[in-house]
Symmetry: C2
Subunit: 360 residues, 2 copies
Amino acid sequence: MKRTLSSALGPRTAAATRPTIKDVAARCGVHPSTVSRALSPAMKHLVAADVAERIQAAANALGYRLNMAAKGLRTGRSGLIGVLAPDIADPGFPPVLSGIADQLNAQGYATIVVDVGRDGSEQDLVDRLIARGVDGLVLATVTLRDDVVQHCLDAAPPVVLVNRVDAAGLLPSAASDDAAGMRLAVEHLVALGHQRIGHIAGPQHISTGARRRGGFEASVRVAGLAARHTPVEVAETYTRAAGREAALRLLARRTRPTAIVAANDLLALGVYDALAAAGLACPGDVSVVGHNDMPFVDMVSPPLTTVRIAQRDMGEAAARLLLDRLAGRETTTDHIVLAPELVIRGSTIARGPDRSAPPR
Amino acid sequence: MKRTLSSALGPRTAAATRPTIKDVAARCGVHPSTVSRALSPAMKHLVAADVAERIQAAANALGYRLNMAAKGLRTGRSGLIGVLAPDIADPGFPPVLSGIADQLNAQGYATIVVDVGRDGSEQDLVDRLIARGVDGLVLATVTLRDDVVQHCLDAAPPVVLVNRVDAAGLLPSAASDDAAGMRLAVEHLVALGHQRIGHIAGPQHISTGARRRGGFEASVRVAGLAARHTPVEVAETYTRAAGREAALRLLARRTRPTAIVAANDLLALGVYDALAAAGLACPGDVSVVGHNDMPFVDMVSPPLTTVRIAQRDMGEAAARLLLDRLAGRETTTDHIVLAPELVIRGSTIARGPDRSAPPR
DNA sequence: ATGAAAGCGCTAACAG
DNA sequence: CTGTTAGCGCTTTCAT
């Protein structure tokens, strides 16, 4: 019955000012502060059980809902966490985001996710979020030496990094073990008999790009492969197109690799494109390994062998790291490293140990 | 002096209380309200140019940032828009979200995106968002006859639907023309000579599922195909697994279709799985058409023929619809319908008109 | 166990 | 043009 009037009049009578703590108080004949106490789980014990019940009932009847902005203004905590994402459309990101949101929501926080386009600077976005009163920040966008790191250290609420780290390791982070992932990939290829393995590296100003490249170089060295048999080409962005171009450069080299390890799956798909353009077969002529195991790479042709990283766990870990900071528990590890896993599919195949690739 | 204690204790000296409008005022020897005016684009004309400049400078020097919570409390507008998503991890959603966020951010709004898991009810999530003071809501989750619709009409700020609509068309919406999409798919197959075409329908309580099915049935009727040659199996969820099961049921029928139209790409990939399990080739034995053109379906094997929907535009349209409502401009169209487009790839192939499929 | 009073940071009348 | 005043809805001492 209650809403008869509100729906009866005009279309936008809607602005129907929500009931406040005062309305509830009036209805119960108590003081607003008593209502505040009764409705706050932490303070409820300070109010008589029967009164508390009456208040609760009245609140329900009125459809009362706490005004978070007012509460936040008073307490200095908004219950909002800002998340900076590099590109929401990147298929790798949603699981991370989902992990973050789950953990945070469970503790009553809401997340406000901002996609960092090419326009608005990261700094500015951070400041905007701070203006919104966020209690903490999760950055998935940070580059290796990023001004935003110092900015955050200076003026920001607690901040954690996810998927990427800063060069100096100043900010706590949750990320996959990039070097270990590359080791997995290289060892797999070496075990299959590959002796000439190329690498399509990601952007070198991003930790994943730099560290995966480092992991690749270390692993091939350990395997005893010569540097000239393990060429590296850098893709400037994590895109299929950039992967294609870099792969084309790699294939144009004097001695063609029999296998290519890409710094991520998008790049690996670009390698597929390049191979097709060059009239080469995968895995017949060239084996390919990706990184991330993004959705549906098991459906491409051939199904992509790749390094699976624990994206959801990564998000959850980052959120927990932040939650620790928010609760004043700064004791936990600062840098959480998650173990990757090799997923072998159809894009890698054994190579006869002494068969040499056609020169040209 | 008052807060000396609060910052004295605690480990987080960091809490370096942000400068307020008062601090800026003190530094300039003016009244806080003058600062408020000088810093508000809309009220700036009320203050002397030189004073405004001084204030601006002081604000910058202090690193002052407007406290949105306080402003919101005062003005009753938070600048926050709530978005309810069915599943952030669904590859189809990010472009929509991106379109929404772009439009909204441009107008100074921030979006808070909530993923509706299987737990928290939609109603409750909406209420939570309202408690956060959102100025408007975008729902991508609504089912055909959803209680949340009435709930929103009653008590909520302006609401728009995206991608889905409610049965009665009560709420404004931006969505793809589902029926037209199916027509495109069916006409394409008929033109290729297919006479027995099956449909894997999506969940029937969701508008896309129901309307695409309706569109399918209408189109095959127009094409003069008999109902028994155009069987429909419903998948309970938009997942690859459900698509596989439904396709298996379809293939088990007495007369096997020579083509299958799936209600979305995820289901279509499930059809691929089912075909593989049944030892059937696509497109050799059965042609397949998807819907949505989600990322990378051009890379699967065979590349999927599908109906591309204007996801980003859809998001943008929904945001503009909401912006109109927020500005009190209710004049625009209530239901925006976007035209889909057929993308022909390798999963559909011509079928000789009189060749009949092997009985069993 | 409850009421009174103050104030978080900001904006919007209303004076001058 | 600028200062004064009041108060958005809530929490939190401090008194009873």
